[in-house]
Amino acid sequence: MQMQMKMKGLCHRLPYLILGAMVLHSTASAQTPAAPPTNADLKVMVDTVWVLFTAFLVFWMNAGFGCVEAGLCRAKNATNILGKNFVVFAFSTLAYWAVGFAFMFGDGTSILGLNGWFLGGADNSPEMGEVYKGIFSSLNWTGVPLLAKFFFQLVFAGTAATIVSGCVAERIHYKSFIVFTLILVGISYPTTGHWIWGGGWLASMGFRDFAGSTVVHAVGGWAGLAGILLLGPRNGKFKKDGSVQPIPGHSMALVFLGGLILWLGWFGFNPGSTMAVDPRVISHVAMTTNLACCAAILSSTLLAWIMLGKPDFSMTINGALAGLVAITASCNFVTVTGSFFIGLIAGLIVVPAVLFFDKIKIDDPVGALSVHLANGIWGTLSVGFFASAESPGGGANGLFYGGGMGSLTTQFIGTLAVGAFTLAVTLAAWFLIKMTMGIRVDAADEARGLDISEMGMEAYAGDAIEQ
């Protein structure tokens, strides 16, 4: 290992040779191992550690989504749901690597990126700003290697896909979900993402979504809604008399674990979106992210207690996630106090939202729409209400801070545009899949459980009987 290290020590710097002064230092220094890195080198080192570390935390959210979704569904479908949540990141990776990243961040028009298939093309990252030369100019504000940028953006794309998994749970074909994932992460998500984070038209309008209330969460929610519309509710969810037949989740232990995994992951999701270590910013974002979540737990738990008679644990979990989704867009543009109220409101939105979707017969087994769609929208608009020039992110004040309707309007336009586009595209995608390979398992299989019909494997095989 030592040997290869020496080799590496040498040759990994060669490519830098093209990068001018700053790196010449470090290359020079490469001759005498002892020579320490330059300050510029050190900044790249620290930033890369931060970007990868936070990306790993976001990756970890895959486990969280799987646990929450499986826990809120029935044991007879658990293997299927867990399977979906496991493979979804693999297929997201392949789609995003092949085309998604290029559509989203490759240089192109204000509508779509058009460079960088399979990450191919010029790129002299970690160079920044003017010094950056390459095809991913929209990411030239962060000074880390290209593969770090890709990996960080990838875990976000993966998140959008996992949101859908919850909406369509307990009735969709495994294969159909996989195909949809490829379309969502390969085409739809990157397009709207390009508008906002890829230097597209919404970015130019001044639309603000720091870590993805719209880019990731609302998009995932819209795509899931489209799926629900074409799938219909699970058999038995709505009684003939129109009343709701609750279908209790099979493991609150999984839900608990998933909830905390997601909460933890959000400390990568939001603070990491700086993609650079700005001490004040990452500390502020960690604080607002956590406070919004806590405020939402408070309000959702109390509201459930009042409206439903008990502190429904699943509502508390939905509430926590609602607060996290809501603060995602604004975490860096609002004050600490602002984040408290944004979270508080998120918790008040999510509980009625769950009841509402049930009432209009939208069967969302895990509350993903109430969490990611409803609060993805609220979070995006919250920038328009609570944005403060005092915040690290600065920028225009929101309505409540005397900034008038300006920012709010922009946020509203962005919300509409992204929603309309995503809903349209994903409806089409789901429809195509339905026509070709079908999306819904047959009633008998649904009754028996997808674990046996789709996976051929029970989630919890008993000892005594099976052997």
């Binding site: 009754a447 046996i452 051929g456 494997m457 029970e458 009987i465 099976e466």
Partner: protein, 112 residues
């Protein structure tokens, strides 16, 4: 006093229960069982090795009733539980000698 043991499809439990309550039958005991019968099971493949699952989840109901109710109850159950497909299950009838309500020691039909 008759004892009725009915083996039905799990997803029929609710309908059957309602039907019985409709008849004024209150006392029902429900047991999760697995059944083997004409209904073919399914083959699961676990890590490449096949195995037949020929014990399928069923629900067993035990209901003790006064002789007079026998016919109506059997009828109610079989109608509520019927899908017409193999696997619907069976109803078994046997006679019981006595019943005691633990709470107050009452016995006989009044205890049901």
């Amino acid at each position: 006093m008759k004892k009725i043991e009915a083996i039905i499809q799990p997803f029929k439990l609710d309908e059957v229960k309602q039907a019985l309550i409709g008849l004024g039958i209150q006392g029902i005991t429900v047991i999760e069982v697995r059944g083997h019968g004409r209904q073919k099971g399914h083959t699961e493949v676990y890590r490449g090795a096949e195995y037949k699952v020929d014990l399928l989840p069923k629900i067993k109901l035990e209901i003790v009733i006064a002789d007079s109710n026998l016919e109506s109850v059997v009828k109610a159950i079989s109608e509520a539980a019927r899908t017409g497909k193999i696997g619907d299950g069976k109803i078994f009838v046997s006679s019981l000698e006595d019943a005691v309500r633990i709470r107050n020691g009452e016995s006989g039909d009044v205890a049901l």
